[in-house]
């Protein structure tokens, strides 16, 4: 756990919860720099038959099929017609789910083998570094990436760490073999902005400030006041096109993106009272927080989070490793869901990301044991549809519905059993992992000649 510090909230689940409004078109303009060069790999159509299917979009289906054509879900159901040349797979006894999405990862920015030379996650030189972008740190040869893929993960949000009040832009990435991060960037995904509450910034900057939580708040407010002024300056110039053209400011460009709703705030924030402060911060400056991350105390304000439709991204049961995590409880996700909120299970860990299904399982069964009903179909949303929503890509992926990206996992059995394994993982229709076929167990450059075995070995 390199940054120890984040939790986010998930997507709306309960039938009575209003679906959160989609954010205003977050797609970057054509001229956006550092564009995605991701290209879908062409693959033959695939028909997965006779499986239990958790679509994350409706009731659990039994003896159902999933058809993948040209990287998209072509159909889910019992009466699908297979096109010619289809790869036919009998999945009797197996389960099929959407690809898992981790809203909180530091893969690539805190790469293995975990040396300071590759500790590229925290620009811990001043408390507000909105100008840095996680993608500029990301190392596509991080040997942790294929391990996550073998756990069924197809998309991550790679985040800067939580040393800073405002840590920089996140990168939403497809976990596919690639030479450059541009080849992994999810086309059309909005950027996120990492912000952090509480202990970390005040510990890191204790000598020069902020050294208190009130100092933290003053730091965010000052930054957004600056951003408002910057935005106004540009607006005026764009209108008049007269006088001196304002200078570009990387930091303020990102913050203006937040004020305009184009960049989604991903806010590391454990404590209930601090989350409430951050909601007020959003009101003061007219932006919405998309998800709190590491929201250990989300259950204490589950009603508030549900009303605001801000997601709570959490671990199932981490608690007590720092003061602000003291009150974490394993029923957190179930309580957030019960209140009509958006629960997400995230990892913030190169280990946890390999077993997001197991963490969701724990949260589901802990909820049930406490008398909070959670179905498998609901719990799967904590690691698929809801994180897709928190990243602003829920119209593209996160469920098994016709037209969505074919991000699909075939599990050896119930994904909420400790014994089940991801057997096949499709990333937009491309087979990026097959437990039974070494040809589809990608090894990073780091795995070559170092003895690092990688997946399947």
């Amino acid at each position: 756990m390199n940054c120890l510090l984040l939790a986010a909230l998930g997507a709306a689940i309960s039938a009575c919860a209003a679906r959160p409004a989609p954010t205003a078109s977050p797609a970057p303009s054509k001229s956006a720099p550092y564009p995605s060069t991701y290209q879908r790999r062409s693959a033959p159509p695939v028909l997965i038959r006779n499986a239990t299917v958790l679509t994350a979009a409706g009731a659990e289906l039994t003896n159902a099929s999933v058809l993948i054509v040209d990287g998209k879900i072509a159909g889910v159901g019992t009466n699908l017609t297979a096109p010619p040349g289809v790869v036919d797979m009998d999945a009797t006894g197996k389960f099929v789910t959407p690809g898992l999405i981790d809203v909180h990862s530091h893969l690539g920015v805190y790469a293995a083998p975990s040396t300071s030379a590759e500790g590229d996650g925290n620009e811990a030189t001043r408390p507000v570094t909105a100008e840095v972008w996680a993608e500029h740190s990301f190392w596509p040869q991080d040997p942790q990436i294929p391990l996550a893929v073998a756990g069924g993960v197809t998309v991550i949000q790679a985040l800067p760490g939580s040393a800073n009040l405002i840590g920089g832009r996140s990168a939403v990435l497809r976990l596919v073999p690639a030479r450059t991060v541009q080849e992994m960037k999810y086309p059309g995904a909005p950027y996120g902005l990492k912000m952090a509450c509480g202990e970390n910034p005040k510990r890191v900057y204790g000598k020069t400030g902020p050294s208190t939580r009130m100092g933290n708040m003053a730091g965010y407010r000052s930054a957004f006041i600056e951003a408002q002024r910057y935005g106004e300056k540009w607006e005026a110039w764009n209108k008049s096109k007269s006088g001196t053209k304002p200078d570009r400011d990387l930091k303020l460009e990102t913050l203006v993106g937040v004020l305009r709703g184009q960049i989604l705030v991903q806010n590391h924030c454990y404590r209930a009272d601090e989350m409430a402060q951050m909601l007020d911060l959003g009101r003061e400056f007219g932006f919405r927080i998309r998800s709190f991350h590491h929201a250990a105390e989300a259950y204490k304000i589950a009603d508030l989070l549900a009303k605001e439709q801000v997601a709570a991204s959490i671990w199932s049961d981490w608690w007590g490793f720092k003061m602000e995590s003291l009150d974490g409880i394993p029923e957190n996700a179930a309580l957030v869901q019960q209140a009509g909120g958006i629960a997400i299970i995230h990892s913030d860990s190169e280990n946890g990301i390999q077993r997001l299904n197991q963490d969701a399982a724990k949260a589901m069964y802990e909820g049930r044991q406490a008398g909070l009903p959670v179905t498998r179909e609901q719990a799967i949303r904590w690691i698929t549809r809801n994180p897709a929503w928190a990243l602003g890509i829920d119209s593209l992926t996160g469920t098994l519905e016709a037209g969505k990206a074919a991000d699909v996992v075939v599990w050896s059995g119930d994904p909420f059993s400790v014994y089940s394994k991801a057997e096949r993982v499709y990333n937009e229709g491309s087979l990026v992992y097959d437990r039974n076929d070494p040809k589809h167990q990608w090894r990073t450059d780091f795995n070559l000649g170092t003895g690092a075995p990688g997946v399947g070995r």
Binding site: M1, W315, S316, W318, F321, I329, A361, S417
Partner: protein, 418 residues
């Protein structure tokens, strides 16, 4: 009393339970996994005076016994967590040193025993107990020789009523984190250990010279050299932190040189030399969720335990845990997921762990006369869908209450009433 006697206080004598709580309990009708023998369908486990009084299909239940209907349930020995700081911290809060008691400054601390730091009120204990963990080997951290670990039960009012064996192990760090004490090199670790061990033997031979100050200065204080005596007699096991194949080989080598009784801990690359480890009759405490390469362990594998077992190694399962020590059973489940036989995995968190701590005669299985640490599970203990319905420690049932359950109830309906 000799100094050696002070060091090797074996506290198994403390196992007697206060009569006031010594109720007789009969767990009836469950599927019983004794670990020491085959499973018993619809078996009975009888607990009396803190001990297991009987186990079997044909056990007559005394009239005064409290009966627990375990029909459809699984009954196992309590789980044992090997090598953790559970119980040594009021809380495991990073940076909050006033909650932590697990380490002394300096590289060599063989005389440091953590027993006096054990805290029966430590906040991580109730959640760990509620997950079926009934005993633990608590160990000191930091330095080349962090000190002495102790085995204790997780339920009691005072240290004296928790301790099982003190010391239970001597921790020595052969990994990257031990290097500083070796001057920055793994070879330096070996050099320094050999020097300390030789001096401990020398000290023992020339005690009078030492008292008269007629000896060259030794590599550690008299107290610390004294504490190494049971280690060098091969009585007190060394819990050796070693992940790299080379570190493991170093640990095996020095164990041969000085006649140490070795238990390997973590052992990420142990699968590469399973046959050597088996031949040396050294058990390995495996952490089954380790697969991320570092320069301390370039070749970790999720099926480490499986491969070691296949090579004939006695495997113990443990896992350092970001959720504060509660997830041991799921680590065992993951070992099964990655190929380990289910019964071997159960043994790896019960009897094998007890044997490694030299208490296999009193702990780790459901056998007549053993300490009544017993768990009744709703189903397979390694599954997320199961939970521990009844947990007995020394025959007393553990209440299913923790800070977390209290928080849950307080905030179940919002707004809460304070």
């Amino acid at each position: 009393m000799s100094a050696a006697g002070l060091v090797l206080v074996v506290a198994v004598a403390l196992l007697s339970v206060p009569p006031a709580v010594a109720q007789t309990v009969a767990i009836v009708g469950g599927k019983v996994y004794p670990v020491s023998g085959p499973p018993i369908d619809r078996g009975t486990v009888l607990l009396r005076d803190g001990r297991i009084a009987a186990v079997g299909a044909e056990v007559s239940v005394p009239d005064d016994a409290a009966r627990i209907d375990a029909t459809g349930k699984w009954v196992t020995p309590g789980l044992i967590q090997t090598g953790s700081t559970l119980g040594l911290h009021l809380l495991d809060v990073g940076g909050q040193v006033d909650t932590r008691e697990d380490s002394l400054e300096g590289p060599l601390k063989p005389a440091f025993n953590v027993a006096d730091a054990l805290d029966p009120t430590a906040l991580p204990l109730p959640p760990a107990r509620m997950q079926g963990i009934t005993s633990a080997v608590a160990v000191p951290t930091t330095g080349l020789i962090p000190g002495q670990g102790v085995m204790y039960d997780l339920f009691g009012e005072r240290v004296e009523s928790l301790l099982v064996r003190s010391p239970a192990v001597m921790v020595i760090d052969f990994s990257r984190s031990g290097k500083a004490a070796g001057g920055g090199s793994r070879a330096g670790i070996m050099k320094r250990l050999r020097q300390v061990f030789r001096d401990a033997l020398e000290y023992d031979r020339r005690r009078d010279d030492f008292r008269r100050a007629a000896m060259q200065p030794l590599a550690a204080s008299a107290e610390d050299l004294e504490a190494l005596k049971p280690v060098l007699r091969g009585e007190l096991p060394v819990l050796a932190i070693a992940n790299r194949k080379g570190d493991i080989e170093n640990a095996l080598r020095i164990a041969r040189e000085f006649g140490l009784k070795l238990v390997l801990w973590q052992g990420a690359e142990a699968w590469q030399i399973g046959a050597d480890i088996a031949r040396a009759r050294v058990p390995v405490v495996v952490e089954p969720l380790t697969d991320v390469p570092t320069f301390d362990q370039l070749a970790p594998r999720l099926d480490n335990a499986t491969l070691l077992r296949a090579a004939g190694v006695n495997v113990i399962i443990a896992q350092r845990d970001e959720a504060l020590h509660r997830n041991l059973r799921f680590a065992a489940g993951n070992a099964v997921r990655n190929g380990l036989d289910w019964n071997v995995a159960l043994r790896a968190v019960t009897l094998a762990a007890a044997e490694a701590a030299n208490v296999g005669d009193c702990y780790g299985s459901l056998e007549r006369g053993k300490v009544a640490n017993v768990v009744v599970w709703s189903g397979d203990p390694f599954e997320f869908s199961s939970w521990a319905e009844h947990v007995f420690i020394r025959g007393r049932e553990v209440p299913r209450v923790s800070r977390q359950t209290q928080l849950r109830e307080r905030y179940r309906k919002l707004p809460p009433t304070y």
